[in-house]
């Protein structure tokens, strides 16, 4: 089991610091990306970087690498949330009839979209 395997202190410390450097590099990319590349996919790229950072934290800082049972528990929990959310919100969206009475704001491309209010 990974959490009971102490290994070498220096080796483990070096691993922690390598992950820190990786996370710092990804944080830097987070900051420069909206101004430098793939700017039309900003949020998607940002979330992708977030997922990579989350993987590093979960696998190495939270010692989940090799812990298949806990990973299954976590995955199942997220699945349950997604199912309930999709059922409830999906039903709501599918039955959404009164657009004029909604508070849905204009699309990004619409003129003066940022000031739109209904």
């Amino acid at each position: 089991m990974s959490t009971t395997n102490l290994g070498s202190y220096k080796e483990a410390q070096s691993g922690y610091i390598k992950i820190l450097v990786g996370l710092l590099v990804l944080t830097t990319v987070t900051f420069v990306q909206p101004h430098m590349f793939l700017t039309d996919m900003n949020l998607g790229i940002q979330l992708f970087i977030g997922v990579v950072k989350a993987y590093l934290i979960l696998a190495y800082y939270m010692h989940l690498k090799g812990e298949t049972q806990i990973i299954w528990f976590a995955g199942f929990s997220l699945f349950i949330v997604a199912v309930f959310f999709i059922i409830v919100i999906g039903f709501d969206v599918a039955n959404f009839q009164y657009m004029d009475e909604s508070h849905i704001t204009q699309h990004m491309d619409a003129p003066h979209a940022s000031h739109a209010t209904h």
Binding site: T3, Y61, F73, S77, I80, F85, T105
Partner: protein, 251 residues
């Protein structure tokens, strides 16, 4: 022998053979699994909030981008790095504990506590700046139906922003509390290199708090980055911080 010292329980089977019963004191996997079950409830709570945020973002994309661009991503980014380093100090503290360096472990826990207070301090500055600009829960800008009201999507965005960063801040406060408790347990000899389950689980909790921030940051602070609305944020940040003390105006 101290009162908490582990004494193995012996069970005898029908043939008279003795067996050591697995005690909770040494059940590392059980303790870890139990704590993960608790953390799942946190994942469920924040997961639901993130999904709600995503849903509203799809309905009010322009308002969300505009509101995000007005947030101070330099302070948010600074806090991201603070949490990142605190995750390292917490991890190194656990590593030192497992290898018998109790003094080093305590130093690392104190470093994590200082970083946690720094995070809260920066968050406090950030909220103060937003309050001084009239953007805070309960102020006119976030109440519908008055002349200062922001567009509905922005009201939703800021409502969720203050709610989620507020709940996250409460978790940081909780983390400080349990780290102080951990120090007390270490000082009284109840957490040792041989029995460090509590330390392990508190380190897990701190990583979870960090993990949540990893998604709070892009969702709230970076959504509006690089847009036309995102100009001169740094200069306005410096100006706002320099005037923070004297400003009580609500616009």
């Amino acid at each position: 022998m101290s009162s908490h010292a582990y004494v193995a329980e012996i069970a005898t089977d029908r043939d008279g053979n003795e067996h050591v019963v697995q005690g909770w004191q040494d059940d590392m996997y059980g303790a870890k699994l139990g704590f993960w079950l608790f953390m799942f409830t946190e994942v469920l709570m924040f997961g639901a909030m993130f999904m709600t945020l995503t849903y509203y973002m799809m309905l009010h994309e322009a308002d969300f981008v505009h509101a995000s661009a007005s947030l101070n991503r330099y302070l948010g980014g600074f806090n991201t790095v603070v949490l990142l380093i605190s995750a390292l100090t917490m991890g190194l503290g656990l590593l030192k504990m497992r290898h018998g360096d109790i003094k080093g472990a305590k130093t690392m826990i104190w470093a994590t506590i200082v970083l946690a207070f720094l995070f809260l301090g920066v968050k406090g500055v950030e909220w103060s700046l937003e309050y001084s600009h009239g953007v805070f829960l309960g102020l006119d800008a976030l109440q519908p139906g008055n002349e200062h009201s922001k567009p509905f999507g922005q009201i939703l965005f800021f409502g969720m922003y203050f709610t989620m960063t507020g709940i996250h801040g409460v978790h940081i406060l909780g983390g400080i509390g349990i780290m102080l408790w951990l120090l007390k347990r270490i000082n009284s000899g109840k957490v040792t290199p041989e029995h460090h389950i509590l330390h392990f689980n508190i380190a897990l909790y701190w990583d979870l708090v960090h993990l949540i921030w990893v998604f709070v940051f892009p969702f709230y602070y970076m959504m509006g980055a690089g847009t036309e609305m995102d100009t001169a944020t740094l200069s306005s940040t410096i100006e706002a911080i320099s005037h923070l003390g004297g400003s009580n105006e609500h616009h």
